[in-house]
Structure formats: structure tokens, C-alpha cells
């Protein structure tokens, strides 16, 4: 059976992609952030996963407000990236994994989740920045990626409890898939930040650290927060915690923390970096 060996929480802000394009990793502004990925990549390279499931939110590259799925699962053999206007160089196409994608879709619908199913989508920085952080040489052609998208742009958005349950169902689907593939799941985005309004710029590292503590040992604790609570505590875009909750939901075994760090500010954001090992 396919095995989920671990989960990774990572920021996905465009500025990270720009910094990598410009080779700024070892400059004072960026050093602590990029150094956090050294231990993460050490584990990741040793695991050398066959499949990477990435929870992200599309910021209007593929899913504009005209048609915006609450949950969407990619089932394509390949995904392209494209210009979003942020000045990040588009990355070469990402390989998909059709068989497991369809199995996930089947199991989700069978268990009363009804995602939008995408046979052709472009993936945006929400996916490509974390992918490139794991493969800085862009040698990601050896891994197959399943993009799973959660609306974090327009309310109503899924509750944290729903994203967690969605992740749990995906975890069960992966673990019931025949084969000996090693799977890593990534939850991207966050943590606290607010880009808009007179309250722009709020960061709440105390709350972020609480989230990173609870997500290891007691993720259900976090489901008591409404998204309005999250906006109040962690800023308007703090709702990207949804992707971390879905990632954590996938980990159905004994979960321990392999690495954790919080670096702020990165752009306007507190960047959480976390490795969860699933046994």
C-alpha cells in the first residue's frame, strides 16, 4: 500500500520565488528563512518521495472569481505554470499522477466530499514556490505531484474542521492505494498575515507558535476556531491555515515533529516551516 511518510508545512509567498530567481538565499534578509529548509530537505532527500500531494490555494491564475471551487483535485498527467504578474519566472511543467488522483477523487465522493475535478489546470505560486523550495535545482521531474486546491480567497471558505476532515479522507484514500509508493503531503501558505486594509501588516507569532504546537499533538484543538476567529487572531490571509489542517488530516499514524521554525517577517508574513513525521 502507498505510505504517507510525512507532512511539510511551508510558506508560499511570491517574494520567495523572486528571491530564489535572483539568488538572494544567503543575504541577511533571507538567510534565516532559507537555512530552515536545509534540515527539511535533508529528510526529504533521504525519503526521496515518489508522490507529493500539495494543498495550496490558487490566487487567480487558474481559478478566478468567475468559477472558484471550494475544493479541487487535479487529475492530470502534467501541470503548467504561467506568468501571474509577480515577476517570478514560470517553472517548467510539473508531472502529475493520474491513478492515485482518480482514486482520491473516487474515495472523496464515496465519502460525501464533492470536489471539483480538474483534468487541465495551471498551478500558481501557491504550489510552485513550495515545490521549488523542496527542489531548489528544479529537478522535480522525478516526483509526481497531485495538486489539491482550497478556496482561501473569497468567503465563504471551508471551516478548519472541514479542511481537516477533507485531509483525513485523502489520507485514508492514499493509504488504501495499492503499491509501494512513498508519499509526502505539503500544506502551504500562512501563517499569520494581512495584506489588505488599515490593519494590514499584523503578524501574531504567539498564535502561529500555538498553531504549530497543536498541529503536531492535538490538531482538533484548532478546529474550535472559526475563520472569523482566525482573521481576528492571524489576519485576513491567516485563513491559509486551512491548507496546513488538510495536510495534517492526511497523517493518520503516530505523528512526531521532525523540525519546526517560524521566521518573520518574510514579506508581510510569518513564515512557518515544519516537518511532521508519520509512522
Amino acid at each position: 500500500m502507498a505510505k504517507i511518510v510525512g507532512g511539510i508545512g511551508s510558506s508560499h509567498i511570491p517574494a520567495i520565488g523572486v528571491a530564489m530567481d535572483k539568488g538572494l538565499e544567503d543575504t541577511p534578509y533571507w538567510r534565516d528563512f532559507f537555512q530552515s529548509y536545509v534540515p527539511l530537505r535533508k529528510w526529504f532527500n533521504e525519503v526521496d518521495p515518489d508522490i507529493l500531494v500539495i494543498f495550496y490555494n490558487d490566487h487567480g491564475l487558474e481559478m478566478f472569481l468567475d468559477k472558484k471551487p471550494t475544493f479541487a483535485v487535479g487529475t492530470a498527467a502534467e501541470y503548467e505554470n504561467a506568468d501571474e504578474g509577480w515577476g517570478i519566472n514560470p517553472i517548467p511543467p510539473v508531472r502529475g499522477e493520474t491513478e492515485l488522483s482518480w482514486h482520491i477523487v473516487n474515495e472523496l465522493v464515496e465519502n460525501d466530499f464533492d470536489p471539483t475535478v480538474c483534468q487541465e489546470i495551471k498551478v500558481d505560486h501557491g504550489l510552485t514556490v513550495p515545490l521549488t523550495l523542496m527542489y531548489p535545482a528544479k529537478d522535480y521531474s522525478k516526483v509526481k505531484v497531485i495538486p489539491i486546491c482550497i478556496n482561501c480567497e473569497r468567503h465563504p471558505m471551508p471551516k478548519l474542521s472541514r479542511s481537516y476532515a477533507f485531509g483525513q479522507q485523502i489520507g485514508r484514500a492514499i493509504e488504501s492505494f495499492g503499491g509501494d509508493q512513498k508519499v509526502v503531503v505539503m500544506g502551504t501558505g500562512g501563517l499569520s498575515h494581512q495584506l489588505d486594509g488599515e490593519r494590514a501588516g499584523i503578524i501574531n507569532t504567539e498564535f502561529d507558535l500555538l498553531c504549530m504546537e497543536k498541529i503536531v499533538s492535538d490538531p482538533e484543538y484548532l478546529t474550535k476556531y472559526s475563520l472569523e476567529d482566525i482573521v481576528e487572531l492571524a489576519g485576513g490571509q491567516g485563513v491559509e491555515l486551512n491548507m496546513w489542517m488538510a495536510m495534517r488530516g492526511c497523517l493518520t499514524g503516530k505523528v512526531t515533529e521532525g523540525y519546526s521554525n517560524l521566521v518573520a517577517p518574510i514579506s508581510n508574513t510569518a513564515a512557518g516551516i515544519q516537518l511532521l513525521i508519520n509512522e
Binding site: G85, R154, D196, G197, R199, V231, G236
Partner: protein, 121 residues
């Protein structure tokens, strides 16, 4: 029956259904800045480009004034509004300053004052 109103949080606009209805033309125009063609067409003739996307007069005035808070009141989503930044040479810290009445340096200092794990381990 009325539409559920979201919590009142100072300095924060929930981008919900009614705001998305109100701001659809604005967001659609800013969304077009994904492509270089869209960015170039806006720069070449802002008024014609706003007309093409059927912005209302209040929305047009906010674009002319580079009034970010006004655009948010008019239904703009920050994910789309921010796409004008690279066209004007503004980053998200500049945007933060514009919305909070700070200079970019003051806004950066505000971010730094809440920092953790950086340059000090």
C-alpha cells in the same frame, strides 16, 4: 432573510459574496494583469482599459487616485489589486504603507517589530 454579515473587525474587510459582486469588474480588470498583454494595454490607455472592463465611476476614480483602501471598499480583492504593484513598481510593503498611512520604511519597521527568528537566530 438577509445575507449573513461577517464579524466586524476594525480595519478589515471580509471579501465575501456581496463584496465579490460589487467588485467583479475591478477584480476582473486586475486579474487581466496576469498577462503581459493586459499589463501593457492598461499602461497604454488606462481610461479605455477601465471602460473595457465596465468599472463604475467610483471604481475608476480609485484607480486614477491609486487609492487602495478605496478599491477595497469598492469590492476589490487584495489578491487582484496587488497585481498592479509590479506595473507601478510597488511591492506589498509599499501597499501596506499606502493603506496604513505609513511610509514604506515605517511599515517595514512595523513588520519588523513583530518579528521572530530572523537575524537573531
Amino acid at each position: 432573510m438577509t445575507i449573513k454579515k461577517m464579524r466586524d473587525i476594525e480595519g478589515t474587510t471580509f471579501f465575501d459574496g456581496p463584496m465579490s459582486t460589487k467588485g467583479y469588474p475591478v477584480n476582473k480588470m486586475f486579474h487581466s494583469f496576469n498577462s503581459k498583454d493586459g499589463r501593457d494595454a492598461f499602461v497604454a490607455d488606462e481610461e479605455a482599459y477601465m471602460e473595457k472592463f465596465k468599472l463604475n465611476e467610483a471604481q475608476k476614480q480609485c484607480v486614477r487616485d491609486r487609492d487602495v483602501l478605496g478599491l477595497i471598499r469598492e469590492g476589490g480583492s487584495i489578491y487582484y489589486l496587488a497585481k498592479i504593484g509590479p506595473i507601478l513598481g510597488l511591492n506589498v510593503q509599499d501597499f501596506g504603507g499606502l493603506q496604513t498611512g505609513k511610509t514604506t520604511e515605517e511599515f517595514q519597521a512595523y513588520l519588523d517589530s513583530q518579528g521572530i527568528g530572523k537575524n537573531n537566530g
